[in-house]
Symmetry: C2
Subunit: 362 residues, 2 copies
């Protein structure tokens, strides 16, 4: 059977590379990665190809790697236009975006231009070249500081940062596109906190500069890359069991599988029968449904790495919310999604990657 | 005193041409119009220049007319880049947009690409070239179907169409830009229903095809351009005095004056002291604060034109809301804005334009 070509903008990044891996492993798809390597490296894609070949031989699909920026409408159009008739783009999994909450409040024009402007260039090209299936990376941050935990998808969106608003805006735009055209099908995935790596240690998270997220920071501390000025825990007076913020950590391979579930669901009309006014558009949480505090995670990483993390409790950080834990029931029921990996596996795989690649892909 | 250059994208359109006129008449500004002539004609700008010269001689500023599309980032950047040091862009009044509610639900990608993508290209160029004053055309449609009439600016945004959401999204983006950078200053103007024309009859509304709005349709019927299939009144069972929809009609020259009020207010820090978290960002209604029903307006246009409009009551039109009447108090208090013109003047000026230009600018 001929393989279908899936376009994955941002496929060289941390989440993207694991999604490319998961899509290729099915043996049903080829992939085209578009990336501007702003916060990623071509080496990640090379390693995914090697990993898939090592595991599955040549049965899996190929990867086209295209260096392009989502803001460049002409370049994005060209990705769809310059293709043989038997190798059109079948579906798009849009992962590439700017993603740092704090930075988004400093340079909002760039965040909106890349995230929203980039989506618009992509939608325009997809519409023109009749590639009307989209899986879109959204974020739990669209919920703001929700009252109900675990968080169902029906929670109103109320993001607290330009980054979060860029995700909310893109969900609004995609929903309107699906409502207008029956040929369009889209699923938005609201990520909770992805962490870990492929257990081979071949691919993993390689953030530029000091990691902004807790788990890669812990891994880099344990490996000796960051030790000073030490680990800060922002606030221990939140209304949570130990007073530190609670998040829903999901193994990166589970998150990646959710993309595959979503892409397959796009072709199942039954998934959209209850979304009347939105056309064929749905939004799903991707989380494990288990809340872990900052102190829980420090302890789990201590077990995985053997490193005793010294830490200091400091004041709350503006913008942090007490608890973001997913209600994953809808994705489980309707997409067949399940976050199988345990917390220990996540920490073990993260440490395996970090200890084998102390300087990431460099 | 050297005149400051104001950039007005969409300055060749109906609202835009009256804003260009109002800005030039102060004698304090030159104007640069950017337009793609999608729903406008260069002739409108030529007539504005002639009108200003006839009224005020050469004391008023000049107009640069640049044909460019807001979606073309390079062309928009060029507008700011290719300028002598003593003729930089001082402020931008962004009017150009796609604006048909019904059409926006048919072709949402185009609406978002032009309206939101266009704003992003403009903001990027403004930021790069240090032109950080913006007056932005929003719409009463951001309020959806509000419960409180007249509508204060504190009413939550809840637009019912992609067009309305493109306006809401742009307000969100502009607010975030102002919150991030103290050098940025922006005022959003939520238009109610502009109508009428300059009393000279030199400039006015010249919609492509059959007019989508009531007043230009009535004018074209009276002048004999549209008679068949006749006038339809969509619903007479709304909870309004005569059962037909109520709107807040504002004379186009009053609306245009509101832009001048807003542009002047941009430099007054006192206008922004209460907008702490938003930086120097404010949103104001531009309306008269007087609600008029469809039947009221048919009667007013009958008086102005002498034409007895035959009309037929038909069912409600999807998306119409019963009443959109502004509370104009905030703009009056804080911007010094006032809609001076009467309803009769509005109808008289509209008819003067239409009868002198039965085929618009053609």
């Amino acid at each position: 059977m001929e393989k279908k070509r899936v376009l994955i903008p941002g496929g060289a990044g941390y989440i993207g590379s694991h999604v490319v891996y998961t899509v290729l492993k099915t043996g049903k798809y080829n992939v085209a990665v578009v990336d501007n390597f702003h916060n990623s490296k071509p080496e990640a894609v090379r390693r995914v190809e090697q990993l898939v070949r090592d595991e599955s031989g040549d049965a899996c699909g190929d990867v086209e790697l295209i260096e392009a920026d989502l803001r460049d409408a002409a370049a994005i159009n060209k990705v769809f236009a310059d293709r043989p008739a038997n190798d059109r783009i079948y579906a798009v999994i849009l992962i590439g975006a700017l993603k740092a909450v704090g930075e988004s409040a400093e340079i909002p024009i760039e965040y909106y231009d890349v995230n929203v402007g980039g989506l618009l260039n992509l939608l325009t090209a997809m519409d023109k070249h009749d590639a009307k299936r989209l899986v879109y990376s959204s974020s739990a941050t669209v919920y703001g500081a929700p009252e109900t935990i675990p968080i169902p998808e029906t929670t109103p969106m109320d993001p607290h940062s330009p980054y979060g608003r860029s995700k909310q805006i893109n969900e609004m735009i995609i929903r309107d596109v699906c409502a207008a055209h029956p040929a369009w099908r889209a699923i938005t995935l609201r990520y909770f906190n992805p962490a870990g790596a492929h257990p081979s240690g071949y691919i993993g998270e390689d953030p530029c500069g000091k990691p902004g997220n807790l788990l890669p920071l812990l891994a880099q501390m344990a490996v000796g890359k960051y030790r000073e000025p030490g680990l800060k825990v922002f606030g221990n007076d939140y209304p949570t069991p130990d007073g530190t913020c609670v998040r829903d950590y999901i193994h990166i391979l589970d998150l990646a599988s959710g993309h595959l579930n979503a892409m397959v669901a796009l072709d199942d009309d039954a998934k959209f029968v209850n979304a009347k006014n939105d056309g064929k558009y749905r939004a799903f949480n991707l989380g494990k449904g288990v809340g872990m505090s900052v102190l829980n995670m420090i302890d789990a990483m201590r077990k995985a790495t053997g490193y005793e993390f010294p830490y200091e409790i400091v004041g709350r950080r503006p913008g942090d919310v007490p608890n973001l834990t997913a209600d994953p029931a809808l994705a489980e029921q309707e997409l067949g999604f399940k976050a199988h990996h345990s917390l220990d596996e996540m920490c073990r795989d993260l440490w395996n990657w970090q200890s084998k690649n102390p300087n990431g892909y460099s």
